[in-house]
C-alpha cells in the first residue's frame, strides 16, 4: 500500500465512520474492501492477472463462505445483498474497460467481459461441486486448496513453473518468466484467515457468519496487505456493534495513523537505504559497518511492519473495528519466548492455535518420547512453519530453525534456572533483565541475517564478517 492508497483509505474511513448509519456500514465496508482488493493489487507481468488475482481472492472468499455456512443460508436477504455487492462490484470493474479509456482501479485494462463471465460461471460451478461433497470433505478440500495455492506462491521454483505455464497458455515468451510474476496481494493473510474459518468450522467452534460480515473480515481493506490476522467472530462482533465516530475515537485513530506513517515512511524507508541486503553482504568488509547494516535491517523491518500495522489499526478504528495488536515493543523483551509473544502476534497466535497446540496434543500420545524431544520437535516445527510462511527457501528455513532452536534452548535454560537460581538482589535482577534484553535482541538481529538475504552462502559470509573470522 502506497501513500495514495493509505490517504484514500483514511478519507473514506472518516466518511464511513462519521456519516454512515449502522445498517449500511457493513455493506459499504464490503463494497470498499472489494474495490480495494483490485486497487491495491500491484501490476503483474502476466496479462490481466492484476484483475484475475483479486477476482480469485473474492471467489475463494465466497467459496469458503458457502462451504462453512448452513445450507440455503445464501437465500437470506443480507447474504444475497452481500453476494450482489461482490459480484456487482467486480462486474462493474470489468465493464469499466468499455467505459474508461484508461484502466480504472486496476493497473491494466481488465479482460473482456466474456472471459469474466466464464470465470463467474466456472467459479459458481466449482462452488456447486464443493457443495456436493460431505461437509467434512468439502472443508478438508478447501483447506488443501488454499494451502496448495500458498505453497505455489511461496515456492520460487513452483512460482516460476506456474508463470511459465500461464505464459505458454497465453502464447507469450517464457524466457522473461520470473518467480516474482505471481504477486498476489495479501494472499498469505487471506489464506490464513480462510483456513482459520475452515478449521474452526471443522472443530465446531465457528458461529454462523453472514456473507457481508465474513467477506468484509477476509478482505477488510486496512488489513488487506499486511495484516493483522484477526479472528472472524471477533471482527463480526465489531461490525454488528452500534458505532458513531466520536472526537476521542478520531483522535486515537489519528494518533495511531500518524505514528504508523512516521514509522513506515520516515524511519523504515530511510533505514531501508542502508539495511543489509545481498549487495552489501558482498561489498562490506569491516565488521563494524556490517553490524551497522544489520542493526539498520533489524529496525527497518520492525518499523516497516509495525508502521503498517499502526496505520491499519488506526484506519480500522475510524470505522469502528478494533483490530488486534500485532507488535508490543518486541525488541525490549528479555527472552525469546517473550519476543515471539510480542512480534507478529496474530501470526504467532494463529500458528499456535492451528498447528502448535494440536501438534503437541498429538505428540503427547507417544508416551515413550521424552519431554525434551517433544519440546524440541514442537518448537522447531512451529518456527519452521513460520519461516516457510514467509517463503519456501533455504534461508527462511534456516531463519525458522534458528528461532526454533533458540526457543528450545531458552526453554531448557528457564526450566533449569527456575529451580536452581534465585536472585534476591533487585539490582542484580535489573542487570539480568538488561542482559536478557540485549541477548535476545542480538539473537533476533543475527537471525535476520538469514531473513534479509537470499542464500545461505551469503548469510555465512555475513556471519564471518560480523565476527571478524
Amino acid at each position: 500500500m502506497g501513500l495514495p492508497q493509505i490517504f484514500a483509505s483514511i478519507l473514506t474511513s472518516l466518511l464511513v465512520g462519521a456519516l454512515t448509519p449502522r445498517a449500511l456500514r457493513t455493506y459499504l465496508l464490503l463494497a470498499l474492501s472489494v474495490l480495494a482488493v483490485f486497487w491495491f493489487q500491484p501490476v503483474v507481468p502476466l496479462r490481466s492477472f492484476d484483475f484475475w488475482f483479486p477476482s480469485l481472492t473474492l471467489a475463494l472468499v465466497v467459496l469458503t463462505w458457502f462451504v462453512t455456512s448452513q445450507p440455503g443460508a445464501w437465500k437470506s436477504r443480507p447474504n444475497l445483498t452481500g453476494l450482489s455487492i461482490i459480484v456487482g462490484s467486480v462486474t462493474l470493474i470489468d465493464l469499466s474497460r468499455y467505459t474508461f479509456p484508461t484502466p480504472f482501479l486496476t493497473q491494466t485494462i481488465p479482460p473482456q467481459f466474456i472471459q469474466f463471465f466464464l470465470f463467474v460461471v466456472a467459479s459458481s460451478a466449482i462452488i456447486f461441486l464443493f457443495l456436493r461433497f460431505s461437509p467434512a470433505w468439502r472443508l478438508s478440500i478447501a483447506v488443501l486448496l488454499l494451502l496448495f495455492i500458498l505453497i505455489v506462491l511461496k515456492s520460487p521454483v513452483l512460482s516460476l513453473q506456474t508463470s511459465i505455464f500461464f505464459r505458454t497458455l497465453a502464447n507469450r515468451p517464457t524466457e522473461t518468466a520470473s518467480a516474482l510474476d505471481l504477486r498476489w496481494l495479501g494472499y498469505s493473510y487471506i489464506a490464513f484467515r480462510l483456513i482459520h474459518v475452515l478449521r474452526d468450522k471443522q472443530t465446531g467452534r465457528l458461529p454462523e457468519l453472514s456473507l457481508p460480515d465474513f467477506a468484509t473480515y477476509v478482505v477488510f481493506f486496512p488489513a488487506l496487505a499486511a495484516g493483522p490476522i484477526d479472528r472472524a467472530e471477533r471482527f463480526a462482533k465489531d461490525l454488528q456493534k452500534d458505532f458513531a465516530l466520536t472526537q476521542d475515537e478520531t483522535l486515537l485513530a489519528g494518533q495511531r495513523i500518524v505514528i504508523g506513517l512516521f514509522k513506515k515512511f520516515v524511519i523504515a524507508d530511510a533505514l531501508a537505504l542502508i539495511a543489509l541486503n545481498d549487495a552489501l553482504a558482498a561489498q562490506v568488509g569491516a565488521a563494524g559497518w556490517m553490524w551497522v547494516h544489520l542493526y539498520a535491517y533489524t529496525f527497518q523491518i520492525y518499523f516497516d511492519f509495525s508502521g503498517y500495522t499502526d496505520i491499519a489499526i488506526g484506519i480500522a478504528r475510524l470505522v469502528g473495528v478494533k483490530l488486534p495488536e500485532n507488535f508490543l515493543a518486541p525488541y525490549t523483551r528479555s527472552n525469546l519466548a517473550q519476543f515471539w509473544n510480542s512480534w507478529h502476534i496474530t501470526l504467532t497466535q494463529w500458528i499456535r492455535s492451528y498447528f502448535f497446540n494440536p501438534f503437541n496434543r498429538w505428540m503427547r500420545g507417544f508416551k515413550s518420547v521424552p519431554m525434551w524431544t517433544m519440546i524440541l520437535v514442537g518448537q522447531l516445527s512451529t518456527m519452521l512453519l513460520i519461516g516457510l510462511w514467509h517463503g519456501i527457501t533455504w534461508n527462511f528455513i534456516l531463519w525458522g530453525a534458528w528461532h526454533g532452536l533458540g526457543l528450545f534452548v531458552q526453554n531448557r535454560w528457564s526450566d533449569f534456572a527456575k529451580t536452581r537460581i534465585s536472585v534476591s538482589d533487585p539490582r542484580l535482577q535489573t542487570a539480568l533483565n538488561v542482559g536478557g534484553v540485549l541477548l535476545t535482541f542480538h539473537f533476533v538481529a543475527l537471525g535476520w541475517v538469514f531473513f534479509a538475504l537470499s542464500e545461505p552462502g551469503l548469510s555465512m559470509q555475513v556471519f564471518t564478517k560480523l565476527f571478524g573470522v
Partner: protein, 366 residues
Amino acid sequence: MDQKQPRIRLFGVLVKATALLLLFNFAFIFTTNIPLGKLSLYNKVFPGRERFPFGETYESYNLSLFDIDAMFASHVLAGKEKARDEYRVLLIGDSSVWGTLLTPGQTLAGQLDATPITACGKTVGVYNLGYPTISLTKDLMILDQALDYQPDLVIWLTTLEAFPKDKQFESPIVANNAERVRALIGKYHLPADPNDPALIQPSKWDQTFVSQRRALADLIRLQLYGVLWSSTGIDQVYPENYERAQTDLEASEDFHGLRSLQDGLALDVLTAGMSAKTKLLLVNEPMLISDGANSDIRYNFFYPRWAYDEYRRMLADLANRNDWNYLDLWDLVPAGEFTNSAIHLTPAGESLLSNKIAEAIQANCE
C-alpha cells in the same frame, strides 16, 4: 456506542487540518535563506567523500542534488584543516575529472594524491572537485566556492564542449542555482542575461514545504548514503561491460550550429574564472582522436576538426595574451585509453595525464 461523546464534527476537523497544513507549508518559505545544506554528517560521523555526490541509481550509493553547500559539506575538502606544510591543489572540470567509471583512487586527483609530490617545499594534497556536466559556468560556480578552501593552486581542466554559449545554463546544476549564477554575473561582470529563461527562478510556491520536499529528502538521503560510502567506499556503478566511445563518426561538420567559433564561445566566463584570486593552471584536457569512419572530418563524437583546431588556436592565443598558466594536452592519451566517451580515460590514461600534471604542479613553484 458511547453516548457521552459527541459525534465528530468532520467538517471542522478537515478545515482545521487544512489550515494548519497551509500555514506550515507557507511558513517554510521563510527558511529559504537558511543554508540547510551546510548541516552535514560527513567529516564528522562519516569520512568525507572524495568527489562530489553524483548518481542516479541506488546501486551507486550516490545521488545528484542541486545544493552546492551540501555538495561541498559532504566533500573531504570541507573536513580537512589545511596543514602548514600542505600545498593544496584543487581540480575542477567535468566528468573526466570527476572520474566516470573510475574508483576515487583511479581518478586524476586520486593518482596525483597518491604520488609523493612536493611543491614550494610543501607536500601536495590534491582534491577532486570535478562534476559530471560540461559547462564553463558550472566550473566557475564551483571555482568561486572552492576559493573558500585556501587553494595554493587550482587546476581547471576543460574542453571545447564546455565553451558554447548555448551550453552555459543547460546543466541542471546551473539552471537550478539561479541566484548563484546571478551573483557570478554581477561579481565577474559577465555579459550573460541574469533573467535568461534557462535559469529556473523558483516562485513562492516552489519555496513552500510541499515543493521543497524533494530537495529536503535529497539532503537526508545524502546523509544516509554516507553510511554506504563509509562501509563500501563505492560512489558509482562500475559495469563490467559498457559501450566504448564512438570511433566511426557521422560525416557532419556541425558544432552547435556555429559557422565560426568567434562570438559563439563563452570566453568571458573562462576569463572571469582565470582572474580568480588564486594561482590557476588551465588545461585543455585530453580527448579521443579516432581513426574510424569520417575521422578526416571529425576528431570524435563531440568535435569536427575545423572547430577543435580553431578552438585550440583561440585558447592558446588567449592564454598567451593574458599570460595564463596553460597546458594543451589534447593529444596526450592514445585512443585505446578512453572508455565510454571521448573524454573519459582508463586508469592508465589517467596515469599518463597525472604524470604531466605532476610536472606542471612542481614547475608552478619554480
